[in-house]
């Protein structure tokens, strides 16, 4: 084969394996799911075509909206905190004169490396109402027990804490990478102008970091709306459905053999997540334009 021909063909050969895997385990199931979302099917026997039936069922079903509401509250508890605190931590860690920089980095990233299922189980034990570590510590301080996982008011913040603990390290590395490309002379100029550190953070660091911040915003929005293992292991969606996230509600259709509705639910979720990502990225961009 001539070198030129080889060079023309090479990129197609190199990307082919991905597209084979994608066709078999991505595109095909996706098309199948779309068709499935217009049918009623329990997994056995004939699938019955019901048009938009699953969609109208979901959109008029309070449980569906409750699952979106739960995920939205989780989003509010997690994402803003993570972006602001993560950026603050990344700014501190990016300082070349900081001693023990490596130790701090390892400490923040370690939770990201632990298996979620294992930590979810640790959360069950640590936040147990009667025998858990946290309530034990509260009692020692003279405070009453809190039903971290048994009260509808606290169940979401307790799971959000698990999510934050687990993934903030990831946010910090992404933001550290972004900070590496912020030119130092911008800050020197600001120092000369007498701008305070807080002022520099809000009017320089944040705008300069907007690409990293929007990347994280999209990735973490996807992650929060898909949140599954945390409620699945720790609370099974309870108490009283307060931690039935969009992801867990979707899974419930599988266990209930309500596959058509499950597929429709997936697509509604995709549309929602795309819309949310677009809106949040726009908002972030608009702030400094």
């Amino acid at each position: 084969m001539s070198a030129l021909l080889q060079r023309r063909a090479a990129p197609y050969v190199f990307v082919l394996p991905f597209f084979l895997v994608f066709a078999a385990f991505g595109a095909y199931p996706l098309a199948y799911a779309l068709r499935l979302s217009f049918t009623r099917w329990t997994g056995a026997g004939e699938a019955r075509w019901i048009g938009l039936g699953n969609y109208t069922y979901l959109l008029t079903n309070p449980e569906f909206w409750a699952s979106l509401g739960n995920s939205s509250i989780m989003w509010l508890l997690v994402v803003p905190v993570q972006l602001v605190a993560g950026l603050g931590a990344a700014v501190l860690l990016s300082n070349a004169k900081l001693r023990l920089r490596g130790v701090f980095r390892v400490a923040f990233i370690a939770p990201f490396v632990t298996p979620l299922v294992a930590m979810a189980q640790v959360w069950i034990v640590v936040f147990d109402r009667d025998y858990g570590l946290v309530n034990h510590a509260l009692n020692l301080a003279g405070l009453p027990d809190v039903g971290w996982l048994t009260s509808t008011a606290w169940s979401k913040p307790t799971l959000a804490l698990l999510f934050l603990w687990k993934t903030t390290g990831f946010a910090i590395i992404i933001l550290l990478a972004g900070l590496q490309s912020v030119p130092g002379h911008v800050y020197e100029a600001a120092d000369l102008d007498g701008a305070s550190r807080a002022r520099q953070f809000w009017s320089m660091t944040v705008p300069l970091m907007r690409r990293s911040l929007s990347f994280l915003l999209v990735i973490q929005t996807l992650a929060v709306f898909q949140m599954f293992a945390e409620p699945f292991v720790v609370t099974q969606g309870g108490p009283y459905g307060s931690t039935t996230t969009a992801g867990l509600y979707l899974y419930d259709h599988i266990t209930a053999s309500d596959l058509g509705t499950g597929a429709a639910n997936s697509f509604l979720l995709v549309i929602l997540v795309f819309a949310l990502s677009l809106i949040s990225v726009r908002l972030l961009r608009a702030r400094d334009e």
Binding site: P17, F22, L30, A107, T168, S212, Q226, I254, S266
Partner: protein, 282 residues
């Protein structure tokens, strides 16, 4: 960056945060070698004199953790190998070639990057049962074995390799694949190390797909074994047994955490630099 020498408040803040991040890990591991009753009676304290492996013994008797480890290792080897071979190769094609259809193909990669995994769960499961793959290693390994995120990331890493190097290789008579193997791979080694650690972590910790794709004990991965343990014993909340159950749960969680933590601590430089090299710049 503007690097003023950090003051005591900075160290205090970072120190407190670092302790909060590390404490749950330390607590889980240290409590897993406590006598069961002490986990409840004295959760904050840790008395080394009483260390015991009872929790581990009970856990080993209750769940096939060895099978879980073996299955995870197998999936890790094959799926990880596929990711590490095919994703940089595809990333190379997107970063360094100009070819008709490139934009459309890369657009598909980006779209799959945005696609929530949960959308695929139901149809993939049906596909697996149609193929007769439920409860097989094929089902655990093949879906997601060449993923969009790794391709996207490798494209970023490889884009930074100078074109002159590649042309020099071609002038020396290397084949297209030879240029990739002999020139690109050595240059992007830090990025590859980062990809290796990240892939290992993702596959080792993966839960959603394995929990639906396999339900027989023989094929369960470590995380699935762990979650069944939690479900089997979460109903049991009576007196001393309750403490034993927790001790077992903490032993299982610790044993699942420790291998990856060790890998991370040993390879943290590669891991952090690898991610730093490949992520989106501000």
């Amino acid at each position: 960056m503007n690097d003023k020498r950090p003051g005591i408040p900075t160290y205090a803040l970072l120190g407190v945060l670092a302790l909060l991040f590390l404490y749950p890990i330390w607590w889980a591991i240290s409590s897993s070698i406590k006598p069961a009753a002490e986990i409840i009676s004295d959760p904050l304290g840790f008395n080394l004199g009483d260390a015991t492996l009872d929790g581990y013994r009970a856990m080993l008797a209750d769940v096939p953790i060895g099978t879980g480890f073996a299955n995870t290792a197998l999936v890790l080897a094959i799926k990880g190998g596929m990711t590490l071979f095919f994703c940089p190769l595809a990333g190379y094609a997107f970063a360094k070639y100009k070819f008709p259809g490139q934009d459309v193909l890369f657009g598909i990669v980006l779209l799959t990057l945005m696609l929530p995994t949960l959308v695929l769960i139901i149809p993939l499961l049906l596909e697996m049962s149609a193929l007769g793959w439920v409860n097989t290693y094929k089902a655990l390994i093949l879906p997601g074995s060449i993923d969009a995120f790794s391709i996207f990331w490798m494209r970023q890493v490889i884009a930074a390799v100078p074109d002159e190097l590649l042309d020099a290789g071609r002038v020396d008579g290397a084949s297209e694949f030879g240029v990739f193997r002999r020139i690109v791979v050595p240059v992007i080694r830090p990025g590859l190390a980062g990809l290796a650690v990240l892939t290992m972590m993702n596959v080792y910790n993966d839960f959603v797909w394995p929990v639906v794709a396999v339900n027989d004990e023989k094929h369960q991965t470590l995380q699935v074994v762990l979650s069944t343990l939690a479900q089997n014993i979460s109903g049991n909340r009576i007196g001393a047994d309750f403490a034993t159950v927790w001790s077992e749960l903490l032993a299982a969680s610790s044993i699942a955490m420790i291998p990856l933590l060790l890998v991370f601590i040993l390879l943290q430089r590669h891991f952090i630099n690898g991610i730093l090299a490949g992520s989106v710049k501000g």
